[in-house]
């Protein structure tokens, strides 16, 4: 094959990143490198990236400049915590049971996604969480971003046979932080296990945050993913769940509050490969100013996956005339005995309701705030973890104060 002489956008980005210090096998390295060499940043022609443009990544400095302290919020006081500061695991932490922060060799790339390859080659922290009993402990990973850095955590979360576990992924950026956060999370939910992940993305207003979760569910397992993109210049989440086992339950919830020029894109895929499973997805958000939002939810029901109940819903409220929503719910069903639904709505706040509340003495602002809280409340009701729910509720209030 001839050498490709033109420099791709990935090449440009890579010149500013530092190769990983974590051990990789030659094979793993080669595979990731090969993928990156033959890829470029996605364009509009790529259906999965039609409305999300990542070219701005190459304008980020990523030189650890602009250090600014964060108003660090810990979400769960009772959780075991691991601190990751500007992508690197903080040094002075005591080892926690079930948490491995370095291990011998990173496994090779499991996806075809260039940003996953980038994450592997330039990994800044590898963290493995193992849940192996029914006690349901909570582990909170706090990612504190104070400098304009390239941050590539690679996470492995294993919920063992019959075990229960809760993970909080808490991303907190300094106010106008401009980091490139690139996270890959691999999740295994074994037989009869029950795992919940709550992801908070409270990034600096100039940060780019690209994340992927690859989830496998075995027989009789329950998996819940709650996603809360609260701030950041650009947020892209790819949640890919393979339901490989029978009798599984899968819950996906998302609530987002966008303003300014922020862009948020949630792509989810649930692949029902076998029978007798239930999945339910609810994403809701409010879009203000010139913010843009993308939702794409795919549900596959494969040929032999009979008796599947799959529900998906996305609802958006535009608070300004200049906000944009692109929502695409997709169902692909190859089985013939299933119950599936999907729906998407985008609209404005009910003006009649605003008037009604104002006629009782509420200011226009508090009337709208009350209606937005009620709108997002439907998602928050699904969140079983009290600390997470109250944190997000508080953030929604702050969103309106600012």
């Amino acid at each position: 094959m001839e050498d490709v002489l033109t420099q791709t956008k990935f090449d440009i980005l890579r010149t500013r990143l530092t190769q990983t210090v974590l051990p990789l096998t030659e094979k793993a390295k080669e595979k990731a490198q090969a993928l990156l060499e033959y890829s470029d940043f996605p364009t509009r022609r790529n259906e999965a990236w039609k409305y999300t443009n990542v070219n701005g990544l190459n304008k980020l400095l990523l030189d650890d400049s602009g250090s600014k302290s964060t108003e660090l919020s810990i979400i769960s006081k009772n959780a075991q915590r691991v601190h990751v500061v500007n992508g690197h695991i903080a040094k002075d932490q005591t080892a926690l049971p079930g948490v491995k922060t370095s291990w011998n060799l990173l496994p090779e790339l499991a996806s075809e996604e260039p940003f996953d390859a980038l994450n592997l080659l330039y990994c800044t922290a590898a963290i493995e969480l193992n849940f192996d009993d029914v006690e349901n402990k909570t582990i909170e990973l706090v990612f504190e971003n104070t400098c304009n850095s390239a941050i590539s955590p690679r996470l492995f979360i294993n919920c063992k046979k019959g075990a229960k576990g809760t993970v909080i992924l808490n991303f907190q950026g300094a106010q106008d932080n401009a980091s490139f956060i690139n996270v890959s999370t691999y999740v295994e939910v074994e037989e009869n296990a029950n795992l919940s992940i709550h992801k908070i993305q409270k990034n600096g207003t100039n940060a780019f945050d690209l994340q992927r979760e690859y989830v496998n569910q075995a027989d009789n397992s329950t998996f819940t993913m709650n996603t809360f993109p609260l701030s950041g210049r650009m947020t892209r989440n790819d949640l890919i769940i393979n339901v490989n086992g029978n009798n599984c339950e899968t819950f996906m919830n998302g609530a987002y509050t966008l303003k300014g020029k922020s862009h948020c894109d949630n792509h989810t895929t649930v692949d029902h490969k076998v029978a007798h499973c239930y999945s339910k997805e609810l994403y809701k958000g409010v879009i203000d100013d010139r913010a843009t939002n993308v939702f794409n939810g795919k549900v596959f029901v494969r040929k032999d996956a009979q008796k599947i109940n799959a529900f998906q819903s996305n609802a958006n409220i535009l608070l300004s005339d200049t906000g944009t929503v692109n929502s695409k719910p997709e169902l692909e069903i190859y089985a013939d005995d299933v119950k599936c639904s999907h729906g998407s709505t985008t609209g404005q706040l009910d003006e009649e309701a605003v008037f009604y509340l104002r006629s009782r003495g509420l200011s226009e602002k508090s009337a709208k705030e009350l209606l937005v809280k009620a709108f997002l409340g439907e998602v928050l009701e699904e969140v079983e973890h009290d600390d997470v729910r109250s944190y997000v509720e508080e953030q929604i209030e702050l969103h309106f104060l600012a």
């Binding site: 008037f355 009604y356 509340l357 006629s359 009782r360 003495g361 226009e364 009350l370 439907e378």
Partner: protein, 251 residues
């Protein structure tokens, strides 16, 4: 309390109110009756501050302030209350939560401290009894899944909680069965005092058997064309509005 002088208003270029005059003093109950399309609901909407209407002439003074210059919420802060003809359902917003916010914003506008949770709950219990509203309805989402009667009782419950100086009841009797009508009317009568006033807008005389007005006005073609006592309402019930129309045209 309130004085409306020569009010002209239009919506989408169509003139609805054509020089309406009305004066209401504290302690009085006024009924405004009239045929469909006379402008009854327009009047209620304008008083509450709906922005779709264009005021082309006239003035409204409420408690010494130029009402038309005030926002909807400022009018509520001054003590104006509109009971809606079609109360809005607001899923996810609890009745009590929203009323507490409303009371506190009204208190804040008056420079008063917020109401304590304890006092507020005591007030909810006391006032919900006035309209025989189940306390579970008080904590449910605003009007969501309420029957027609429950919605109207909820309007009067809110009125009781906010204790307005002037309440405008817009077709509060529409869609009510006789029992609900009695409960709603009893609520309004209980809340009546020498310091507040009520404007009852209605199509039928029936409600006025229960809420006895001091004055009955007939609104026709954007103007008040006749004013009398409760006997006028009975006459309207008996003879309809045609004689008013004829009288007006002759006049």
């Amino acid at each position: 309390m309130i004085e409306i002088k020569n009010l002209h208003a239009k919506i989408e270029g169509k003139e609805i109110l054509k020089g309406l005059n009305l004066k209401v003093n504290a302690g009085e109950v006024h009924a405004i009756m009239g045929p469909n399309g006379a402008g009854k609901s327009t009047l209620a909407s304008i008083l509450a501050g709906r922005e779709e209407y264009e005021i082309t002439e006239g003035e409204v003074t409420f408690e010494g302030s130029d009402l038309l210059e005030l926002s909807t919420e400022e009018r509520a802060h001054l003590g104006l209350f509109l009971a809606f003809q079609y109360p809005v359902e607001i899923p996810g917003v609890s009745n009590v939560n929203f009323l507490r916010t409303a009371i506190n914003e009204i208190r804040d506008a008056k420079g008063e401290d917020p109401i304590s949770a304890k006092d507020f709950m005591a007030m909810v219990r006391e006032k919900s009894k006035i309209v025989e509203l189940d306390s579970s309805l008080a904590s449910r989402s605003v009007n969501e899944g309420f029957s027609g009667g429950e919605k109207k009782r909820n309007e009067i419950f809110q009125m009781a909680m906010l204790n307005p100086k002037l309440a405008v009841l817009d077709e509060t009797d529409s869609g009510l069965d006789i029992d609900a009508l009695r409960i709603v009317a009893k609520g309004v009568n209980t809340l009546k005092s020498a310091n507040n006033a009520t404007i009852v807008i209605t199509h039928y005389q029936r409600l006025l058997d229960y809420i006895v007005p001091d004055f009955v006005h007939v609104l026709y073609d954007g103007r008040i064309v006749k004013t009398g006592n409760k006997e006028l309402a009975l006459k309207l019930e008996e003879k309809g509005y045609d004689w008013i129309k004829e009288e007006t045209q002759v006049g």
